[in-house]
């Protein structure tokens, strides 16, 4: 039996604007997606901002009722058996908020233990174990308002595991963390999977998904555009090469010229402090460097390199449909 199932899962939102003449707009956040997560699997849901990841998660954790379709957790329907689903699922989201700032970390965990119906005897054993797991032992009596972002995030993880749920849903848990904090959290997530938990992870950090996930679904504009192992997804762009060009101040129209250049299959730009990193995908074996530099005109160019495609390149290709 699959631990998580989504069948033609769809969710729309109605947005109204205007005061006198009210206008209603329907937004399709999730457009009938299907996927399954097997028991003990670490499954990644990848997509850009606004792709429908969080809406999907909210339906699975019973915070939103699907507009149509169905979702089940361990065979329990998220609408009709919401309470059973809640007993079996641990929900953790990223960011600073989501804890009682004026309470200690320990009191936060005690309170949620009560809400999850964890008996006091079990709490006494379980809470120290979790504090140890997330590295907060010794700081548990301090108020959460004094915690760093990473500590708060680790507290969220501990809270999500209080009732020892078989399914853990992590919605962008490493967002905003420094590299060391993010790495520590990824180690904790990997430990959860090793402990036999089913983990559904949403992220838009490709290396995170690549390092952690057994399988990945890529979601874009509310639809799943690809699903498979990280290796299988990378094979989408296996016949390509990626040219990286550092440009200092791309002139207007340069990007369009690169995009229209013969042989170019996909172009994306990463804005860095003083430089734009141009990532151009093209069929393997095709020498494009001179042609691309010609498209950029007089712009000052830094490092130019060609490399093998990564999962991130596959992701860009999938979400841009190129």
């Amino acid at each position: 039996m699959a631990a998580i199932e989504a069948e033609k899962l769809r969710r729309t939102y109605r947005q109204t604007s205007g005061f006198v003449r009210r206008r209603t707009k329907t937004i399709e956040a999730v457009r009938g997606i299907d996927f399954e997560v097997n028991e003990g699997e670490l499954f990644g849901l990848l997509g850009p901002n606004g792709a429908g990841k969080t809406t999907t998660i909210k339906m699975l954790v019973t915070l939103l009722i699907p507009t149509s379709g169905a979702a089940r957790v361990l065979g329990h329907d998220v609408v009709h058996s919401a309470r059973t689903v809640r007993r079996n699922i641990g929900y953790v989201f990223g960011g600073d908020r989501g804890a009682y700032e004026r309470l200690s970390g320990l009191d936060n965990l005690r309170y949620f233990s009560e809400l999850y119906g964890v008996p006091p005897k079990v709490q006494k054993r379980r809470i120290p174990e979790l504090l140890e797991l997330v590295g907060l032992m010794g700081r548990e009596k301090e108020r959460v308002e004094g915690y760093s972002r990473g500590m708060k995030q680790r507290l969220h993880i501990a809270r999500g595991l209080l009732h020892d749920p078989p399914v853990v849903v992590l919605d962008e848990p490493t967002i905003g963390l420094d590299p060391v904090g993010a790495r520590e959290l990824r180690n904790t997530i990997a430990e959860l999977a090793q402990a036999g938990k089913t983990v559904l992870l949403t992220t838009h950090y490709m290396y995170e998904a690549d390092a952690l996930c057994d399988r990945i679904a890529v979601i874009a504009e509310g639809e799943i555009v690809a699903e498979g192992t990280p290796t299988a997804l990378k094979s989408v762009v296996a016949d390509r090469t990626v040219v990286e060009i550092e440009a200092y101040g791309l002139p207007a129209g340069a990007l369009e010229r690169v995009r229209a250049s013969p042989g170019v299959t996909s172009v994306s730009v990463e804005e860095r402090e003083h430089v734009q990193l141009l990532l151009v995908q093209a069929p393997k074996g095709l020498e494009l460097t001179q042609q691309l530099l010609g498209c950029l005109g007089d712009v000052r160019v830094g490092r130019v390199a060609a490399r093998e495609p990564t999962l991130e390149d596959a992701y860009v290709s999938l979400v841009t449909g190129s």
């Binding site: 915070l63 009722i65 989201f93 908020r97 804890a99 700032e101």
Partner: protein, 261 residues
């Protein structure tokens, strides 16, 4: 057992979680000093206009001031969760909603009771209002019942917090509504008929009437009907507030407004 723990332990912890920012610098002026201003204002207006006795104003305003914690604190049990982004986490727990939400009202009732009691004692001392010793214990009971019924209305206010962004607005409106309609400073008999009819269905009205009679020397038996009516109205608001909370929770899941109302 789990429900009992959620009711008592959970209720108290959530009160600490949501109101730990209330330092003595905020608590004492808001809950202990401000009601005295209201009592003194109306008592001196009463003295100037020779309308009602000091006792009338002390009892009315002291009991009505319980509405501040009962309305604002109950509203904040949802509004505060929304502000801290903990509401989705609370609502994704399997905790029964009855002990979860009603449990949050117990510390609020105690808070309202303390505010009323302090205002009653201090207001009486400041204005030289005499209350018979025999009336003290029944007055304690009436103050507790009134705080309970006010908290029932506060629970309805909390439910609105699942739909509107800011419950302080509704708390302020309800506070003013109770001040005008419940015979706090104007006897019900002097209010337009439609207002006194509405007052019959509001918390405070019967509690204030019972307290005034007790302070005037009546026995508890004589005001049992009024106390019973106050209690019944409180129960109706608690049931209504809980039903409204459940409805709003389902509605917010349907409309996707849990975090963005």
């Amino acid at each position: 057992m789990t429900s009992l723990r959620i009711f008592f332990v959970g209720g108290l912890t959530s009160y600490r979680a949501l109101f730990n920012w209330l330092t003595p610098w905020i608590l004492i002026p808001s809950f202990l000093i401000a009601p005295l201003f209201q009592i003194l204002l109306f008592a001196y207006i009463g003295r100037t206009t020779h309308l009602e006795s000091d006792r009338f104003y002390v009892i009315g305003n002291a009991l009505q001031y319980a509405a501040v914690p009962c309305l604002f604190a109950m509203g904040n049990t949802i509004g505060g969760e929304r502000f801290q982004h903990t509401l989705p986490l609370v609502l994704t727990t399997p905790a029964g909603r009855l002990p979860l939400f009603i449990g949050r009202s117990v510390p609020v009732i105690a808070n309202g009771f303390v505010v009323s009691g302090f205002a009653l004692v201090t207001g009486s001392a400041l204005l030289g209002v005499h209350v018979p010793i025999s009336a003290v214990a029944p007055l304690v009971l009436v103050a507790a019942v009134t705080a309970f019924s006010c908290t029932g209305l506060g629970l309805c206010n909390a439910a609105l917090g699942l739909r509107v962004r800011e419950t302080a607005v509704t708390s302020n409106i309800l506070f003013g509504f109770l001040l005008v309609f419940c015979g706090v400073n104007v006897p019900l008999s002097s209010l337009p008929a439609w207002m006194s009819t509405i007052a019959e269905g509001l918390p405070l009205t019967h509690g204030i009437a019972a307290a005034r009679q007790l302070a005037g020397g009546a026995g508890l038996g004589k005001v049992a009907g009024l106390v019973g009516a106050e209690l019944l109205i409180g129960c109706i608001y608690v049931v209504g507030g809980y039903a409204l909370l459940r409805l709003m929770e389902i509605e917010s899941r349907r409309r996707g407004t849990l975090e963005i109302a």
